[in-house]
């Protein structure tokens, strides 16, 4: 298989990328290439220009600043996986990224590419939804920040203009004693999840949740925060029965129906996986369970 002919650009600076995006029609951005390259090989996309971001300086970093993790858009998934900062400060992302594809694809795939591609079943998209990530995009009028709640404009369609591109993502951190879990169901190891669930809990002085985040990925056209479950958890004494009752609301999701699974099956998985994620997050709350092992 061969990609269709295109012109290739490999800019070195963010300003050059913005300049190219402003000047070129029908251009595609190439980051890790783990989605775009198969689409080119199969000619699902026919760009006139490919703008390769891999030689742009200063887009790969992970750092902690002002209560958040700041991650450059070109940071490889494998670097997230092996980052002590991610593992200790944002363990939900650590647990999720280990389930992204395979080592060969994580070596290339980037966080900015995952978020921009916006596959509703992608682990990092679900994590960004769960953590209220803030996406930084650069364009002709400078930089702007997009809260992740406003980031998906539709199915695999980020709210980024054609002359803009993702430069970084900021992840606000939770208290270090929070509970977390990322679970997914996929047919084969490394596949996209049919449905995934991310749960986070932060306790008040009495051990009841002061704060909760529950997200279902893969079931709907973009990962969905389950606000009714979150509100039902805050201030309550946690129990298996409470999780069971609250997670039933996932059965009302407007689920995708496709070749991989019917909508009713996705709704069922969402009920089961959200409950399992909450159980695991609860067990880890206040540091009663150990952090995932490094591997």
């Amino acid at each position: 298989m061969k990609p269709p002919p295109f012109e290739y650009h490999d800019p070195r600076t963010e300003a050059e990328v913005v300049g190219l995006l402003a000047r070129l029609d029908n251009a595609k951005l190439l980051a890790g290439g783990q989605s775009l390259m198969p689409m080119l090989n199969m000619r699902y996309v026919l760009p006139d220009h490919v703008i390769d971001l891999n030689r742009v300086e200063g887009l790969s970093y992970i750092r902690e600043a002002e209560g958040a993790l700041e991650i450059g858009a070109l940071t490889r998934q494998r670097d997230l996986e092996f980052s002590d900062l991610v593992r200790t400060r944002c363990p939900l992302m650590h647990e999720a990224v280990r389930q992204v594809g395979h080592r060969q694809t994580r070596n290339r795939g980037t966080i900015g590419g995952s978020l921009g591609h916006l596959d509703p079943a992608a682990e990092l998209v679900t994590v960004a939804t769960a953590l209220d990530a803030i996406v930084t995009v650069a364009g002709p009028t400078g930089r702007r920040e997009v809260p992740f709640a406003e980031f998906p404009a539709g199915f695999m369609m980020p709210s980024i203009a054609l002359d803009e591109f993702i430069t970084a993502v900021r992840i606000p951190l939770w208290r270090s004693d929070h509970g977390f879990a990322f679970v997914e169901f996929a047919r084969r190891h490394g596949d996209f999840a049919i449905v995934s669930a991310a749960a986070m809990l932060e306790a008040d002085g009495s051990g009841r949740p002061a704060r909760a985040s529950v997200t279902i990925g893969g079931a709907t056209i973009a990962p969905q925060r389950m606000r009714d479950i979150e509100q039902g958890l805050v201030g309550q004494t946690l129990s298996q029965q409470l999780f069971r009752d609250l997670c039933e609301s996932c059965r009302a999701l407007e689920a995708i129906d496709d070749i991989h699974a019917p909508a009713a099956y996705r709704q069922h998985l969402a009920v089961v996986l959200s409950r399992r994620a909450l159980q695991a997050a609860h067990a880890r709350l206040n540091g009663t369970a150990v952090l995932p092992k490094r591997h």
Binding site: Y8, G33, P38, N41, D52, Q104, N107, R108
Partner: protein
Amino acid sequence: MPHSRNIALTVNGERYEREVEVRLMLADFLRHHLGLTGTHLGCEHGVCGACTILLDGRSARSCLLLAVQCDGHDVMTVEGIAPSADALHPLQEAFRDHHGLQCGFCTPGMLTTLIEFLRENPDPTEEEVRIAISGNLCRCTGYQGIVAAALDAAKRMQAAPA
């Protein structure tokens, strides 16, 4: 040639300079331009793992990389694993001894993937090996021989570090 560029890269320690079409995949560059046909192409969309090579020491699918992206970089293919033309790497010896291959189509990707994995994890468990090769499809062996070979290779490599 329309949309072509000159690139210079290192493959298995040897430097190459070529003019290539910008849409040329690294896998096709290795096979058709350099004659290094050890790298196999199965699915050509990043699923089967047969075309795995090491780019700057990290495993990657060469069907998902453009040759131009490798300008200035270092590539290692299955041809670069053996220490010499008449000697096998301990990993290759272990594959031979444990029937880690039958038809051999997936083997280049298995070997390159495991070279990286065993460097990072010299004393792995069976589960870790299975996860490491989860992105490489084999239709002959049922994976048993491959896993046994990888575990044995880890022991051989620890006993006689390269």
